[in-house]
Symmetry: C2
Subunit: 486 residues, 2 copies
């Protein structure tokens, strides 16, 4: 199914809503999670915590989104977090020159061109204003951070463009108050803000986005992963800077230097295990190895974990070996000691980062899980990710079946996420449940009143079986049990 | 223990950090959750979802924090969400006149005075600038919303000052896409922003705050609660506008009109049950009934749920009967139909709101759970709220006890939140665990190697028992089971 089909279904079922959609001309790049979306996202994050954060005894924090100017001076965002833009000299409409050139020529524009290079390419391609048709020229720079003013003095501050700055800035307090050793993972789920010039890709390009970031702090003299052996034989797909694709065992990728350390290789492999458990199997995933030109200037190695979808390869996680850039910059700017005391030896840790886009990941899981079977649309989510685990239906609304189904529903509700539905034919109720990704449906019928059994119908193969209703609580609970994390 | 003592311990143990604290002069009113704080807050929200949201089959959404100007024109925040402020004519320092008058006179200043009335009171009390000593006058208004500009055109938008606006604005899409009936609860956990003029109360007065809000939409012709009977005999404490205190059964408070409907009474009682389960028992709680002058102009009835702490009575939840104010305003401003179709009958629902401060609630739970016993400090959190359920310790670090404890730790980690600690005496490890609120500690000793039993030590009464290590997983799991929600 296409991006538009998936987006439409996700809106119809209430996974996502456009923000402030009841108002005309609400700004692009803002989306709300509807009821099914919140549940899917929360289950997704539960899996992430289980398979990565808790597995490796990482610490999780949650920092403020508004941070003072000094933080972003040090991080480099104040000077460098910009996108090129061009304003029509005639009507004032604003565009991204790279996007307009790509639309016109059908060819990808390299990243990080100079402003004058964009102007040359626009002139060559004859790029014109989409609104009034005037030729476009005069590329400038737009800082993508949202500025806010604190208090009546309007003290300069910004909404963070990436959650990780909270982790970096808090690390001295973490070292001081927590009893930790290196390597240490610090995780955070939270919102970031990027004032995109003209976002056009719906859910995939947001001005307000949800990230789950992990910063692994390690001693550069010992970039080992304690549990490397447990996944060193996992196979990973790589797309190299020269355009060639390969599949390598993690140990091999580390040995040949494609990945800079066992620690980095360990986390790349763990990510693939996590996404596989979330319903995006390894064969749909690849690591795009960024060339030196494509990497941020402080980055020593970078890998974009991408998934193959209807829109092409979509980046889900930016994996970045940031060296000591962040800690040394914040240390210098703040005058605070950011080193870790390793039994008397001062270590300024290096950082390997896993920066995950939650909204894109949720979208990718929905698209990858959705299939059409004739008229039937089935959202085949893993049961532990499904917003609702089971529907409880009375076969007909008479003869005490409603009451019996209502009682069963109430008893299951205490321990499981279930819903009750008594409207329409059983077939229509099944179809609605299939579209919402509900793994099983429980129907209370006349036999239930006699022998206490119900029909348990499976979403994926439409098989049905008779089950004692007293066994359902345990059945649903085992269905939603998370996979083992080791 | 005093507010300062509790705040200090919470920082030392990593429940909270001041935001950007490594930088000098970081702005007040911003706090980060540290590792123990994130876990406690997440467990708190799990309990809230269990006892209120899921119990009543509410829907949960998660909306954007940045919303367009039109939303706040309609909500009234653009014109009315202001605090009085006064700027020193000599040195430019800014103050809240009400706070300065209260500091000077020791008496509370009524809310909602006119600017000229503040000036009169300041003159009478001889209020002077705290910085340069000049007399203060010329009260003005400061809008407490943070403004942001979207895109290169800097389209006017704001960070929402209360999460509920997302719910109101999304309600037409919820009615359209979800199969619901009235009364319908819609819940949301998220961040709100209030640009306080000079916040001074640490964790209790934040510029960036976490809220858990519930808006119950109901047909004003039927303000009933389907499950009212289940808690109509619960007793609630009230502080009336005339200053008198009373304790009433919910049914009685509804009958005498102190609470406007069974629906409202039901939710007030449910809140008290929830907080009791969270460790703030009913006798520490009261509902302050707001007088007509103290209520927002659109409010038909309002109750602040307050808890008695070292700082006095602290508001945790604002309960507000908002009538149809929000939906009719947004409907008129957006041109969208906000009515609910009740089998062909158009109903513009009324709203009863439970607006909960998460950060204050977490603070209150920490303070209420903390006790000193001589040198010993114990954080007696309910086990299902505790950030960590158990510590696993080897008695000594030799003779294979470390290995045995490590294996036990790894086996428990898959299903529980446990930590491993082998440093210092057992007594010191117990003491650290007590301060972090860990309900029990498991010690592996020489007998463990012989008969597979461990010592299970209970935080609250310091009792110890021998338990088979094979029984621990189930023991920890039942310890953290949530209380029944009905």
């Amino acid at each position: 199914m296409s991006f538009d089909d998936v987006t439409r279904l996700a809106q119809q079922r209430g996974f996502f809503f456009k923000s402030a959609d009841s108002y005309p001309n609400s700004p692009a790049g803002f989306w709300d999670y509807g009821p099914l979306g919140v549940a899917l996202r929360n289950n997704y994050l539960r899996l992430w915590r289980h398979m990565i954060v808790k597995r490796d005894r990482m610490l999780e924090i949650d920092g403020s989104q508004i941070m003072p100017k000094a933080v972003f001076e040090a991080s480099g965002h104040l000077s460098g977090f910009t996108d090129p833009f061009v304003k029509c000299g005639k009507c004032g409409s604003v565009f991204r020159p790279d996007k307009r050139i790509e639309d016109k020529t059908g060819k990808q524009v390299p990243e990080k061109l100079k402003d004058s290079e964009y102007d040359e390419l626009m002139a060559k391609a004859g790029v014109k204003c989409l609104k009034c048709g005037a030729p476009l020229s005069g590329t400038g720079r737009f800082n993508m951070m949202f500025r806010v003013g604190i208090g009546p003095a309007q003290e300069e501050a910004y909404l963070r463009p990436e959650t990780c700055q909270s982790i970096f800035v808090d690390i001295p307090l973490i070292f001081k108050t927590q009893r930790v050793k290196l390597p240490l993972g610090v995780a955070q789920v939270g919102r970031s803000f990027r004032n995109e010039i003209a976002p056009r890709q719906g859910l995939l390009r947001l001005r307000e986005l949800n990230q789950a970031e992990i910063e692994v702090f390690f001693d550069p003299a010992a970039a080992e992963a304690p549990r490397f052996a447990s996944l060193q034989s996992d196979e990973l797909n790589f797309l190299r800077p020269d355009g060639s694709a390969s599949t390598s065992k993690v140990s091999q990728a580390v040995a040949e230097g494609l990945v800079p350390s066992a620690l980095a290789g360990y986390y790349l492999a763990l990510l693939v295990r996590f996404y596989s458990a979330a319903g995006l199997p390894g064969e749909r995933l690849r690591f795009r190895v960024l060339s030196e030109e494509d990497r941020a200037f402080y980055s020593k190695a970078a890998y974009d974990l991408e998934v193959n979808l209807s829109v092409g390869w979509l980046e889900l996680v930016a994996c970045n070996y940031r060296g000591d850039y962040d800690l040394s910059r914040h240390s210098a700017a703040s005058g605070t000691d950011f080193t870790f005391d390793d039994a008397g030896r001062k270590v300024l840790p290096h950082v390997f980062e896993l920066s995950m886009g939650i909204d894109r990941s949720v979208y990718a899981i929905i698209e990858a899980s959705l299939r059409s079977e004739g008229e039937r649309r089935v959202l085949g989510l893993r049961p532990y990710l499904a917003p609702v685990t089971a529907g409880v239906f009375p076969l007909v609304n008479k003869d005490g079946l409603q009451e019996a189904a209502g009682e069963l529903f109430a008893s299951l509700q205490e321990g499981s996420d279930v819903f009750y539905d008594e409207s329409g034919s059983i077939g229509r109720r099944y179809a609605r449940a299939d579209e919402a990704g509900v793994p099983c449906c429980i129907t209370v019928d006349y036999d239930t009143l006699k022998d206490g059994t119900v029909t348990l119908r499976n979403r994926d193969d439409r098989s049905q079986e008779r089950v004692l209703s007293s066994a359902l609580a345990e059945r649903l609970s085992s269905l939603t049990r998370l996979p083992r994390s080791r």
